[in-house]
């Protein structure tokens, strides 16, 4: 009895999404797959379930090759999954959603339902009772007649787990079931997963929340770029350098933080002060009650694992992501303003992968676009400043932006941002996709930008890069601040890892 996915390769067009990945789950075992965004976790689920065609490899259930069966036949054979973004009918009731998961276990037919035959009635009653008891186990008993659209996403995820359980699967695949759940809900989910394992169901878990994963699972597979990087128990995996690299970012991992020139007097009022800031995407709240001070000429590094809420926080500050709380810029409240008005007040956001440049326009055209508000002396002054800051760009004014190297594109993105004459610069992962060779230039440039009196918020996966620049470090985990410290902390890997993993609440929640 086991579920074996062996040597799975999946290709989408020119992209090798999975390359020779193997996972085995036995009954009662809880196995997990971790890895950063785009590492192939969900694709692995899709391959096992039959949603994505596999190029190579096989999926076997209890020794039987099921690689060629359609999805519903695999479910009938005992596989089941939940979805990372639950696919729900917002108008159906919770009870209906959970009952849908039970249809697979029925032996009666449609006409039994229409004609109300004894068999049909019996099975319908059985499924209804089971649906209620599954909801009860998940502490959701009161919600049975609510419509799905009214519920927060975390609850919807829990219901999705209940729906998967209804069919009585022998192997269940959970795709980020804990995302968006409160700590209390996470504990309910953990209990349900343990109960499943206790009933000899094999569980395969994809999850960003490493604390959650390591609490539950016996085996962890680490994926990166569609390949298996590592495999072992949570204890083994969490100590391996490869895993730490994925979590903390890689380059210059051993470079000690270089003390930056601190220019702001500690008692000076901050340039920008965010208090009680929350951010939400639709119904999912991703940042909770965050306070953040950005001093003039200071660099605040915003660190945290993938999905911790860094980009969302920048979005909340810039006004692009729905949020609540307060943002004061030089003592003026700007949270009530829409994004374009906040930009006028001096907030400038540089999205990840240089998202603010126009790839098909030339460097000059890009710059002119961002400088269209300026004229006369101010424009001249800015141009001189940019020429001094970005000498390389000046040589490439006529090139199309997309023809620039990654590092040059990042310079262009920064130059365009500076052309807005910001007071606060929000940089989302400026090192993403850049060769380590350009890090030094980038670091130097950002330092010089700060020296112009601009406050910089630097969201980075790459802790080492951030360490070299930051005056102050804020670590996010699960949307909350888990650590505030001086950059020296970044050389303390253990504490940093702790902060990345988020608050350990497994003990306090047991009570």
């Amino acid at each position: 009895m086991k579920l074996e996915a062996t040597d799975i390769s999946v290709r989408f067009g020119g992209i090798q999404a999975l390359d020779g990945v193997s996972v085995t789950v036995t009954p009662g075992q809880i196995a997990a797959v971790v890895g950063s965004n785009g590492s192939g976790k969900s694709t692995l689920f899709n391959a096992i379930m039959g949603f994505a065609p596999i190029e190579k490899g096989s999926v076997k259930l209890n020794g039987q090759n099921i690689s060629n069966l359609p999805v519903h036949r695999r479910v009938q054979a005992g596989l089941c999954r939940t979805f990372q973004t639950p696919r729900i009918d917002p108008e159906s009731t919770v009870l209906e959603a959970v009952k849908s998961g039970g249809v697979v276990s029925m032996s009666s037919h449609l006409w039994d339902a229409c004609l109300g035959t004894p068999l049909g009635r019996h099975e319908a009653r059985e499924i209804e009772e089971r649906a209620y008891s599954v909801l009860e186990e998940l502490n959701l008993g009161d919600l049975a007649s609510q419509t799905m659209g009214e519920l927060p996403m975390g609850t919807v995820r829990l219901i999705d787990v209940g729906r998967a359980v209804m069919g009585g699967p022998s192997f269940i695949l959970l795709d980020e079931p804990a995302a968006g759940l409160s700590h209390a809900e996470q504990d309910v989910l953990k209990a349900q997963i343990r109960r499943l394992a206790g009933d000899a169901v094999g569980v395969l878990l994809v999850e960003h929340n490493f604390r959650f994963v390591s609490d539950l699972s016996d085996q962890i597979t680490v994926l990166e770029n569609g390949r298996m990087l590592d495999h072992g128990t949570p204890d083994e995996v969490s100590k391996r350098p490869d895993f730490i690299r994925i979590y903390l970012g890689s380059s210059g991992a051993d470079t000690p933080p270089r003390p930056a020139a601190r220019q702001s007097a500690p008692d000076e009022a901050p340039l920008m002060r965010c208090s009680g800031l929350t951010a939400r995407h639709g119904r999912i709240q991703v940042c909770f009650d965050i306070d953040l001070d950005v001093p003039r000429s200071g660099v605040v590094a915003l660190l945290g694992a993938n999905g911790a809420g860094k980009s969302s926080l920048l979005g909340a500050i810039s006004g692009l992501v729905k949020s609540s709380g307060s943002i004061r810029m030089e003592d003026e409240e700007i949270h009530s303003l829409p994004a374009h008005r906040r930009a006028e007040k001096g907030i400038c956001f540089v999205p990840e992968i240089r998202g603010n440049i126009f790839p098909t326009l030339s460097v000059l055209e890009n710059l002119e676009l961002s400088q269209r508000r300026l004229s006369g002396a101010a424009l001249h002054a800015l141009r001189d400043e940019l020429r001094e800051l970005f000498p390389r760009l000046h040589e490439r004014l006529s090139s199309e932006a997309r023809m620039l190297s990654g590092g040059e594109q990042q310079m262009l993105a920064l130059a365009m941002a500076l052309s807005q004459q910001p007071k606060v610069l929000l940089l989302d992962e400026p090192t993403q996709g850049l060769a380590p060779a350009v890090y030094d230039t980038l670091e130097d440039t950002i330092r010089r930008i700060a020296a112009h009196g601009i406050g910089v918020v630097l969201a980075e996966q790459n802790a080492a890069f951030a360490a070299r620049l930051a005056d102050h470090v804020v670590v996010l985990a699960e949307g909350e601040v888990s650590l505030r410290a001086d950059p020296e902390i970044l050389s303390d890997r253990t504490r940093l890892m702790e902060a990345y993993l988020g608050p350990d609440n497994s003990e306090e929640q047991v009570a």
Binding site: C80, S92, V104, C114, G116
Partner: protein, 313 residues
């Protein structure tokens, strides 16, 4: 299974009975009421295919015609009694719809609408070119009447009784786990597959059931009117019953019946022979603007009764 399961059926029975008392002896209104019930059945067939399972079929009248022609041919050519015709009129459209649906239900809404419309046109040509067998352009006349006394009051009771039975069947289906499964097919086929539901099979069974109900309506129509021609149950009828179901509320059990009653009343009561169509269209647009999910959705404006929510949606 609570009493709520029976509520829609009881509503149909109660209203039909009350209406029966009011219109007893009035042949015009009794006739209108019988046709209303036949439309209601066809609108219910739309409720099953489109409302429950998301199959946009514009061939419901063709399925009804298939059933109607079965019983018409059996009774006029072979002298079969209407009750024999009933079995064939329900079974043949249902049996035909299943493989037909396997072929076409993977299409988009628009593709499906085109495919079913094409099927109706082809079927229409078959009827017209069928010679003596189908009666060709002239059609078949002299069909035996519906069983029972030739009394308008009895017919009113018979047809609405059948509507009530079908309503009961559908309420049972909607409330069952199958109903939940079919709804999830309509909403997100991929999700339904992940529930272990064979989507192609589920859709085909739903269209098959829908075609069976349409065939039943066709049987009633043929024996009530006692004449059947290629224009009796044509494509325009498919579109009217689709409209009725939409106006009433296609995802609810009672919605299609309500729509059939409302639109039939509207077209009967509207003034002006020439300009009636204009008022009719205007009224339809108004309903769709005010209640895009159908007249049934207006009950949400009533003071909420939490117990009423689960049972009969």
């Amino acid at each position: 299974m609570s009493w709520l399961t029976f509520r829609p059926t009881l509503i149909v029975v109660a209203l039909a009975t009350v209406a029966g008392f009011f219109i007893a002896g009035n042949l015009f209104w009794l006739d209108t009421s019988v046709l209303m019930a036949i439309y209601a059945l066809m609108a219910l067939s739309v409720g099953v295919s489109f409302g429950l399972c998301g199959i946009l079929s514009v061939a419901q009248a063709a399925f009804a015609a298939l059933g109607a022609y079965c019983t018409a041919i059996l009774s006029t050519h072979y002298g079969a009694p209407p009750m024999v015709g009933l079995l064939v009129a329900v079974a043949l459209p249902a049996a035909f719809a299943y493989p037909f649906a396997r072929l076409v239900t993977n299409m988009s809404h628009l593709g499906l609408a085109m495919a079913t419309l094409l099927f109706s046109s082809m079927f229409d040509i078959v009827l017209r070119e069928g010679g003596d067998f189908t009666g060709g352009y002239i059609g078949l006349s002299g069909l035996p009447p519906l069983p029972g006394p030739m009394d308008a009051g009895w017919l009113h009771g018979l047809v609405w009784g059948i509507v009530a039975l079908v309503t009961l069947m559908l309420t049972l289906l909607y409330a069952s786990p199958y109903g939940a499964g079919l709804k999830s097919v309509r909403n997100d086929a991929l999700r339904a597959a992940a529930d272990g539901i064979d989507v192609a099979h589920a859709r085909s069974v739903a269209l098959s059931l829908s075609a069976g109900i349409a065939g039943l309506a066709g049987w009633l129509y043929a024996h009530y009117i006692s004449y059947l021609g290629p224009d009796s149950l044509g494509s325009s009828m498919s579109i009217s019953v689709l409209l009725m179901a939409m106006v009433g509320g296609v995802t609810t059990v009672l919605g299609p019946i309500l729509g059939a009653v409302a639109l039939t009343l509207l077209s009967t009561l509207l003034p002006g022979a020439e300009s009636a169509g204009m008022f009719y269209g205007g009224a339809l647009l108004l309903v769709l603007l005010i209640a895009p999910k159908g007249l049934m959705s207006l009950r949400d404006l009533l003071p909420a009764r939490s117990a009423a929510k689960g049972g009969q949606r």
